[in-house]
Amino acid sequence: MGSDNGERVAEETRQVLESLAPEQRNLITILQKVQKHFGYLPREAMIEVARSQGIHETRVYSVASFYNQFRFVPPGKYPVKVCMGTACHIKGGDNILKVWETKLGIREGEVTEDRKFSLDRVACVGCCAMAPVALVGEEVHGGMMPTRVEGILLAIRMKEEAERAQQEKETAGPGPEIQEGAQGREHA
């Protein structure tokens, strides 16, 4: 950690900025692209954006902190978002959130220790007819029930397990180091 990592983030940010088309040179669009790259807005990246645009760093932070889309901590590998729109609310969306909280052992806005899951509430994803709704990554789960949470978690764990087994099979021999773990530490 420290300046090395900061330098790397700044360098990657510069690459993102260079890849933008001229009509995409809008602060919000820029921040969206940067967040797409890192999964969140690291401090060094925002400083780099400010430098490249010739504006003060506080201006970048003031814009980034205004909009709900931007986050300042890395999301989990499986970001869970529970819809809290009107239709989801009256059909028990807060119960669904509570169950996710109990099952993951974290509160909304937090990330699990192993960085696998993050839990957030989202205003409305526009699937009101399927309420209550939860998102895991990009996948939308309609008609959520408190009892379905466990099933979704189980499916993810099984997928993880299968992936790990696959990886172990592939990397069997050269070394026991699992690449994913190494990356995770670097971020932390």
């Binding site: 909009y67 009107t86 989202v122 409305c124 009101c128 007819a129 399927m130 309609g142 008609g143 949470v149």
Partner: protein, 648 residues
């Protein structure tokens, strides 16, 4: 050949090409076509799995059939929806179609010619054997202007839209003088469908007559109201209708550039709108020289970053300019000084999508729809406790009762209707006795609600009105941009009072305080977010005051919703010793079995999710909700060492 003839000829060529294209793909009726609705709502119900299953089964059976993705046709309650068009049969709509049923349909209908009547939702054309959707009672009240093509065309293929009539209105507008376009809109009496109901032509006229030649057209698709999804559905199902409307508007006001401002939470809408712009540019329906007319229009899709207040036009502009989305004082209105200080027309998705209809069918035809001063149709997103959740489009002036009970099918599970919430956080809750109000900007405002962007959430006897008001205040308080003191601090204070009430700490004086705060916030806020934020409280106080009083005086939640005032309890006299249904259903293992084998809820573990109530077999119905807490016989704490004993 003069200019007008050249435009028409160029468009004819495109239509020919579209027909050829569809024929090449076998989508012209020469072979069976299977369509799956894959808008976000369909995907939430598993439409992508259904699509994969259909493709696999068609491949496996060796059937010659085209599979096509379409948008949402509004029947969201029956998602995933599949339509099969086969020679000799009308197009038949099936739903809900899970992957298992998908392969059954392929085998039995496509291979064996049995239309599987037991799974049919309805036919899309009249037929002797298949009941047509148009024969459903709801069709008698529905009228599809905006949603006409939704769910029938492939939103990712412009040829499909062209063959169904897209851009025909633009062709007429290109041959009309800009001033006459504004006149046509004035005669049609089109009003802004984003909620305010402002005359569309006035905005256009001001912008058109401005001295500054650099102008913009912005389509506002920042559909932030929780509970509304019409704009998303329209953009995902028929993006060309919106682009066509934008292009007509751009010609009327003389704007060479435009923005389609779409909410961050709608990734699929953004993707499909971008694709639609690219395809329309390629065919010369947008771009530097539209259909050889010399008129140029370049729309760009702008993905917003998630802020409710950006639905307000001046905040939206600030956000495109790369600043915090905070509203400013109007006037000057954006039509005079908007994006980058230039004249800008901002219209809602539905307003712009109505424009092509006016130009295709003429203003008379549009002005003939509707009720008194409010013309045209309106799209509502029905959600909550209603049978037919989804999109409905009805002429203005239809009564709420007809919309909810005849089109929407009423409240499910035999529960009693309590209220309808219209207009999202800016709107209000109307009770049963206000249901005969005709839908229109003025009538709804008088009743205390507002048209809003069209979200309509139905509440039944199991919903607490105080808690609903708290929910909306929580939303507006979080989304307040913080510029105006009354909105920033006032909504916070109102929220705190409502939290006190739902927690059972409320006092009688707080009701009066809520009313005076509401008035202050309304007067002291700059934009409509603040001005309308008290509406949910004011309407619930006006129509459901008794519920507030029960919370305060008796510490009782009449709907048995508020967590602090309610508990779940298992009646020992009804609990069946041999049944364990509730124990397994509880996600927090709050239910334990006592020595007599009766099930007991340990209140300290219970999160009140209601899973046990659902799980308890109906012949026992032993799980009940109790409010106030004073009526709860005991807290059901499990004896020490219970867990250990269970493990043995």
């Amino acid at each position: 050949m003069n200019r007008d003839e050249a435009i028409v000829a160029a468009f004819e060529r495109l239509l020919e090409k579209a027909k050829r294209h569809l024929a090449e793909q076998g989508r012209d009726g020469s072979r069976p076509v299977v369509t799956v609705g894959t808008a976000t709502c369909g995907r939430a119900a598993g439409a992508l799995d259904t699509l994969a299953a259909l493709r696999e089964e068609i491949e496996a059976c060796g059937v010659d059939a085209a599979v096509m993705e379409v948008g949402c046709n509004g029947h969201c309650y029956a998602e995933p929806l599949v339509t099969i068009s086969k020679l000799g049969w009308p197009p038949i709509l099936y739903g809900p179609v899970k992957p298992g049923l998908a392969s059954v349909l392929v085998k039995r209908f496509l291979v064996e010619d049995d239309p599987c009547l037991e799974y049919v939702l309805g036919g899309l054309e009249p037929h002797d054997l298949i009941p047509a959707l148009t024969d459903f009672p709801r069709s008698a009240y529905e009228m599809r202007v905006l949603l006409a093509r939704c769910g029938r065309i492939d939103p990712t293929d412009i040829h499909s839209a062209l063959a169904a009539g897209a851009y025909a209105g633009l062709v007429r507008a290109l041959r009309t003088e800009p001033a006459d376009i504004v006149e046509e809109i004035r005669r049609a009496q089109l009003k802004g469908l984003g909620g305010a109901g402002y005359d569309t032509w006035k905005k256009w006229k001001v912008c058109r007559e401005s001295a500054d030649p650099e102008r913009f057209v912005i389509c506002n698709a920042d559909e932030g109201d929780p509970g509304a999804f019409m704009d998303r559905s329209l953009l995902e199902s028929d993006p060309h209708a919106v682009l066509e409307g934008m292009a007509i508007c751009a010609r009327a006001v003389g704007a060479p550039k435009g923005y389609l401002y779409i909410r961050a939470e709608y990734p699929l809408a953004v993707e499909r709108a971008r694709l639609a712009v690219a395809q329309a540019r390629e065919l010369g329906l947008l771009g530097p020289d539209i259909l050889g007319s010399g008129f140029a229009f370049e729309p760009r899709v702008f993905q917003a970053a998630g802020a409710f207040v950006c639905g307000e036009e001046t905040a939206l502009i600030a956000s495109i300019e790369g600043r915090r989305g905070m509203p400013r004082i109007r006037p000057p209105f954006p039509a005079e000084k908007g994006l980058n200080g230039k004249p800008t027309v901002i219209n809602n998705v539905k307003t712009l999508a109505s424009v092509p209809y006016i130009f295709r069918e003429g203003w008379r035809s549009f002005a003939a729809i509707g009720h008194r001063a409010t013309k045209g149709t309106t799209v509502f997103a029905l959600a909550g406790k209603v049978m037919n959740t989804g999109l409905v489009e009805v002429p203005m002036g239809t009564s709420l009762r007809r919309l909810i009970f005849e089109v929407g099918g009423g409240v499910p599970k035999g529960k009693a209707f309590k209220a309808v919430q219209i207009g999202g956080p800016s709107g209000g809750c109307l009770p049963e006795e206000k249901l005969d109000v005709p839908i229109g900007f003025k009538a709804l405002k008088e009743a205390g609600a507002m048209m809003g962007s069209g979200g309509m959430v139905i509440l039944d006897e199991d919903n607490c009105m105080v808690e609903t008001a708290r929910f909306f205040l929580d939303f507006t308080q979080k989304e307040s941009c913080g510029k105006c003191t009354f909105c920033r601090i006032g909504t916070r204070q109102m929220l705190e009072i409502l939290e006190d009430i739902v927690q059972g700490r409320g006092t009688e004086e707080q009701i009066a305080l809520l009313e005076s705060l509401a008035e202050d916030i309304r007067l002291g806020s700059l934009c409509n977010l603040g001005r309308t934020a008290p509406n949910p409280i004011l309407t619930t106080l006006r129509y459901f005051r008794g519920e507030y009083e029960a919370h305060i005086r008796e510490r009782r939640c009449p709907a048995k919703v508020c967590r602090a005032l309610t508990a779940y309890y298992i009646l020992p006299e009804k609990c069946e010793r041999t049944c364990d249904a509730c124990v397994g259903s509880c996600p927090t293992e709050a239910i334990w079995v006592n020595a007599k084998r009766f099930k007991v809820i340990d209140q300290s573990f219970c999160i009140q999710c209601g899973a046990c109530l659902e799980a308890c077999p109906v012949q026992y119905s032993a799980v009940v909700k109790i409010s106030p807490l004073a009526d709860l016989p005991d807290r059901g704490a499990r004896p020490e060492g219970y867990e250990k004993k269970k493990e043995k």
